[in-house]
């Protein structure tokens, strides 16, 4: 889990900073930030090998659900674990996110310890 590269897709700078702050728990973690789904896809198409994606749902330009769907359809990216972090707490939203291929669904406000545990469960030791 050392040296992991995380892609944080979130339009709120406050949330991006909070998530990045939580990810400092992982040794030598590198956090790459994207402001929406399109921005994230550009980064994913680049040379950086991303180990895990954390994405919001409600974002301008391209939302998180569309991003999850596109990543899962891409043969080179489909194995990257994805965690959705959102204000949408309804059960049908959770089911939809997981059905599209997200590995975990976390509702805001986030608990740092919960986020860390979820990531630890998804990434190999």
């Amino acid at each position: 889990m050392d040296n992991a590269k995380f892609l944080v897709v979130e339009d709120s700078p406050t949330m991006r900073q909070l998530i990045a702050f939580s990810l400092k728990r992982f040794r030598n973690a590198q956090v790459i930030e994207a402001v929406d789904g399109v921005d994230a896809l550009k980064i994913l198409a680049g040379p950086e090998k991303i180990d895990l994606i954390l994405t919001d749902i409600n974002m301008p330009v391209m939302d998180g659900l569309k991003l999850v769907s596109l990543v899962r359809q891409n043969s080179e990216l489909r194995d990257i674990p994805i965690i959705i972090i959102t204000t949408e707490g309804a059960e049908e939203d959770r089911e939809r996110g997981l059905a599209l291929g997200a590995n975990a669904y976390i509702c805001k406000p986030i608990q740092s310890s919960h986020l860390i545990k979820t990531i630890s469960d998804l990434l190999p030791a």
């Binding site: 709120s12 406050t14 909070l18 707490g89 509702c107 406000p109």
Partner: protein, 247 residues
């Protein structure tokens, strides 16, 4: 003769048997003592095991507590950092909104500022007016109703602590937090509804309210002053440009 030999043989065997029995008794005695010692040690180990188990539980509880504190501090740090990251009024208001949604878990809320000339509190930003129609254009006189009283007295209001509270409404929010510069109130934050997954305010939320009360007020005030000084600077610059051109 043969009788004597048999007797001696028997005596020899008897003595050997006696020695062997005595040896067994001594060994038995030694083993009993060893068993008693081991039983004492096992008891001590069991006691130590229970002590360590209790310590372990205590450490686990403290770990959870520290994790929670760590989480709370991260929230406070990020909120404070973001609030002072800009001097643009709209951006400051947007950051306050982000803190309310993402860190506190507010679904429906309004941010009101006090107009010093009219003594009216008015909405400058709101979210979720579908759940609470009218929050986008609240206008309350200082000292009137719950919101006016909060702005006038500078003390936070919590619906859960109000024995007279009936139902949440425009003037009776879940929480109303004054934005204060020392003792001067410049506005307030009123929260009407929390996100579906958030049942009630957590301990950290009250810390965030305290932080918002002071830091959001400073950030809002500083950004307003900055925009005013920018406007004045532009006016003076235009005036100077006019003087230069006409002369």
């Amino acid at each position: 003769m043969a009788e004597d030999q048999r007797f001696d043989k028997f005596l020899e065997l008897f003595n050997k048997g006696k020695e062997f029995t005595e040896e067994l008794l001594r060994e038995n005695q030694r083993l009993r003592y060893r068993l008693a010692t081991i039983e004492g040690e096992v008891k001590q180990l069991e006691e130590r095991f229970h002590e360590i188990e209790a310590e372990n539980k205590d450490f686990a509880a403290r770990y959870v507590e520290i994790e929670e504190q760590n989480n709370n501090l991260a929230n406070l740090y990020v909120a404070s950092y973001q609030l002072h990251s800009t001097l643009d009024f709209r951006e400051v208001v947007q950051i306050v909104e982000e803190i309310l949604i993402n860190l506190i878990g507010a679904r429906t809320f309004a941010i009101l500022l006090l107009d010093e000339k009219t003594n009216d509190l008015q909405t400058v930003a709101s979210e979720g007016d579908d759940a609470m129609p009218g929050i986008d254009k609240i206008s309350v006189r200082l000292g009137e109703g719950v919101l006016g009283t909060v702005a006038h007295g500078g003390e936070s209001y919590y619906f859960s602590q109000d024995p007279r509270a009936g139902a949440v409404g425009i003037d009776r929010p879940l929480a109303a937090v004054p934005l204060k510069l020392k003792d001067q109130v410049i506005g307030l934050i009123a929260i009407y509804k929390l996100l579906q997954q958030k049942e009630a305010f957590a301990a950290v939320d009250y810390e965030l309210f305290a932080l918002l009360a002071a830091h959001a007020a400073t950030a809002v005030f500083a950004s307003k002053l900055y925009s005013q000084s920018e406007r004045k600077l532009n006016t003076i610059q235009s005036f100077l440009d006019l003087l230069t051109t006409t002369s």
